[in-house]
């Protein structure tokens, strides 16, 4: 589904990302972990063509993202709160995203009804604008908005941060379900090793912009990651 080749990103003389090659097949739940400044958000921003690659390119379902915009209809994402429109209510925001993705109100409502649990009664019908919601609730709204319109690729940056435990558990179930049953390619980044190992079939570790580990998740994965990050901290 997604092919990354010879991708680098430089700011001035500083190389912040250098990925020689990476293939993400359709329907895979893909986890990206790494310390601060490892290049996770940079990689996701490149995937969404929000920044320009210094060299190399990304092909998303046969579309080269920095050449054509044809990847947009089947790709959706939630990177951070700047993806929300503060002066809309959550409902208005969902309908707006729905319209952009060719879904009418009924479609959006049908989808939202699946997330009643996830919202925990704190999002819909609150008579609040998104800018007035708490950080956690903003995040919930943003994540669900990324599910609108049957996307084939979903990119979520740090989806578990700021969420309460109940919601984290529900989100994990949702992501697993999307990848396994609906064949959606889900890309997730996180600082929480436990969450990614639970959710993702495959985990890639970025360190200082480079892929240092590419693991198929198994029972030992969590231990392996903990050892890696424990040591890399000791080194620094």
């Amino acid at each position: 589904m997604i092919t990354i080749s010879n991708l680098t990103k430089k700011y001035g003389s500083q190389l912040v990302l250098n990925v020689e090659g990476l293939q993400i097949p359709k329907g895979q739940s893909f986890g990206l972990v790494g310390n601060n400044g490892a290049g996770k958000t940079t990689l996701f921003s490149l995937l969404l063509d929000l920044i320009q690659p210094t060299t190399g390119h990304i092909v998303n379902n046969e579309v080269q993202v920095d050449n054509s915009e044809a990847w947009k209809p089947f790709t959706s994402s939630f990177i951070d709160e700047t993806f929300l429109i503060g002066y809309l209510t959550p409902e208005e925001y969902f309908y707006f995203i729905g319209e952009l993705r060719g879904q009418n109100k009924a479609d959006v409502n049908a989808l939202l009804s699946n997330f009643q649990d996830f919202f925990h009664g704190e999002i819909l019908g609150q008579k609040k604008y998104l800018r007035d919601l708490s950080k956690g609730n903003q995040k919930k709204a943003g994540i669900v908005a990324a599910f609108i319109g049957n996307p084939e690729v979903i990119i979520l940056d740090e989806p578990f941060a700021n969420l309460d435990p109940t919601t984290q558990i529900r989100l994990k179930a949702i992501i697993r379900d999307l990848a396994a049953k609906q064949g959606v390619t889900v890309l997730v980044s996180s600082h929480d090793l436990m969450h990614v190992t639970e959710v993702c079939e495959r985990i890639v570790v970025l360190n200082k912009g480079e892929v240092v580990k590419d693991i198929k998740t198994s029972a030992e994965t969590l231990r392996e990651l903990e050892v890696f990050f424990g040591e890399s901290i000791a080194e620094d």
Binding site: Q52, T75, F83, D132
Partner: protein, 489 residues
């Protein structure tokens, strides 16, 4: 403790984003500030002579005293809009080992040296100096000035007390109008009564203590009120308004651009700064009266083209110059989302078009000043429609400064850069120059005709022009995304 606070204040001022602006911006702001101060100084310095000339038989100081009540009320009225107690800044101190009482004293004390208080002094001190040179007794004048200062400080603290509800604001406004009306229609000679009262401040220097006593009492009242409110859930909490969702179903008839139109309408209506611009644009319909009323330019002067472009295009320039910075908070989402850039821009164009048509209709009454006025305004509207819409959208592609929608509207220069000044040249200067040349060398009719023709040509070429504009936005996408992310630009 106060030294610490003062030090922090100093840093927050010099490290603030408004001071970090580009050099050109700083010079411009300094220029405006200086201009205002000089105007105030000049007004204060010349007030004595103006009053002496206008009312030779009345003591100018008595005249000033008569209007002092209005000054107080107007100042309260303005402060209500502009001045808020800066309580939000003190959140970090609540958990530090600092007495709540010293925090309170600090906030209140700091407000005493705010700009609003100093402004009136720039007016009254030169007036006082002129009084001294004119041989008024020094003791009386100095005490009178001290009394004025006391009143300013008292007003400062009174404002914080009444600032909390709209009723006080409406009451002040009503009293202001009522007093003026009663005096004007000779029901009660308010000005005379209050003139006497304020004049005694001058005649009996000891009384200068009265405003100061009032100031101290008001300070105490503020202190008592604020001290009990220093909790996160109380006055420090940002007030959130109840959201009202709206369908705006009628926008559906615009077809594919409907979702963006709805978004833009909500953007305008639900944010202070944009809302303010709508009101300003509507008020601009009266701008022409200044020039047409003067009746010194002749019916076809170039100044009227400027006025016409300005009136029918106020919203165009005010709102348009910051496209797409209005959407800067969520611009990366817009760029990652399934959005045809073309539709996004067309929606903005449609919105501006509606504003031009509306402003044109509102400007029709200017026909009272002659058919030329109507002709000029029509030509300007058509020109705005055909030429200026693509022009302003094109210049928008150079915007890369973030606008925080939640920030207030008053004096907010966020998002301003050289682009905003550059765009004025094609927007206003070009049509005026063109008109001037054609009118001078050929005729009024031809000049008007050419403006209309340009507008129609622009309209006919709308499609290719919009393609060019869209291309420009696409090219600068990465710069915009990066620029809009920088908070303190």
């Amino acid at each position: 403790m106060f030294k610490h606070f003062a030090n922090l204040q100093w840093k927050s001022f010099f490290r603030s984003s408004s001071l970090g602006k580009s050099l050109g911006m700083k010079i411009l702001m300094a220029f405006f500030g200086l201009y205002m101060l000089i105007s105030l100084l000049a007004a204060g310095g010349s007030l004595y002579f103006i009053l002496k000339k206008a009312f030779p038989e009345v003591d100018p100081l008595l005249m000033v005293s008569r209007y002092m009540l209005y000054w107080i009320l107007v100042e309260l009225f303005l402060r209500y809009f502009m001045q808020k107690l800066p309580v939000m800044d003190i959140k970090p101190f609540l958990t530090l080992p600092v007495n709540k009482s010293s925090i309170t004293h600090y906030i209140l004390g700091r407000s005493a040296i705010s700009l609003y208080n100093i402004l009136s002094l720039f007016f009254f001190v030169p007036f006082g100096i002129v009084l001294l040179t004119k041989g008024y007794p020094a003791l009386n004048v100095l005490c009178w000035l001290a009394a004025i200062m006391g009143m300013v400080v008292a007003l400062n603290y009174l404002n914080f007390l009444i600032n909390k509800n709209d009723k006080a604001f409406i009451a002040i406004g009503t009293i202001l109008v009522a007093l003026y009306a009663m005096n004007y229609f000779n029901v009660i000679p308010i000005e005379r009564y209050f003139g006497e009262i304020f004049h005694t401040l001058y005649k009996t220097p000891v009384l200068a203590i009265v405003p100061w006593v009032a100031a101290v009492i008001l300070y105490q009242a503020n202190y008592k009120f604020l001290r009990t409110k220093l909790f996160l859930d109380d006055s420090l909490k940002k007030k959130t308004k109840l959201a009202e969702s709206s369908e705006l179903g009628w926008t559906k008839r615009f077809g594919a651009i409907a979702p963006f139109m709805q978004l833009d309408l909500k953007l305008i209506w639900r944010n202070k700064r944009t809302k303010m611009q709508v009101f300003i644009s509507l008020l601009m319909v009266f701008y022409g009266l200044i020039f047409y009323g003067g009746d010194t330019y002749g019916p076809s002067s170039t100044i009227y083209v400027f006025v016409g472009i300005f009136m029918t295009g106020m919203f165009l320039s005010n709102f348009g110059q910051f496209i797409p910075a209005w959407d800067s908070e969520y611009y990366s989402m817009m760029m990652a989302q399934n959005i045809p850039l073309r539709k996004y821009l067309e929606s903005k164009a449609a919105l501006i078009s509606v504003s031009i048509v509306l402003m044109f209709f509102l400007s029709i009454p200017y026909v009272y000043f002659g058919w030329e006025a109507l002709a000029i305004n029509t030509a300007c509207a058509v020109y705005n429609f055909g030429v200026n819409i693509p022009v302003i959208l094109f210049f928008g592609s150079f915007n890369k400064k973030r606008i925080d929608l939640t920030k207030s509207a008053m004096g907010n220069m966020q998002g301003t850069s050289a682009t905003q000044f550059l765009v004025m040249i094609p927007l206003m200067v070009l049509p005026c120059a063109l008109y001037f040349v054609l009118k001078t060398f050929i005729s009024f009719e031809i000049a008007i005709g050419v403006l209309v023709l340009l507008g129609i040509v622009g309209l006919a070429l709308r499609k290719p022009l919009m393609n060019k504009v869209t291309e420009a936005y696409r090219k600068r996408k990465y710069k915009m995304v990066a620029g809009f992310k920088e908070r303190n630009s």
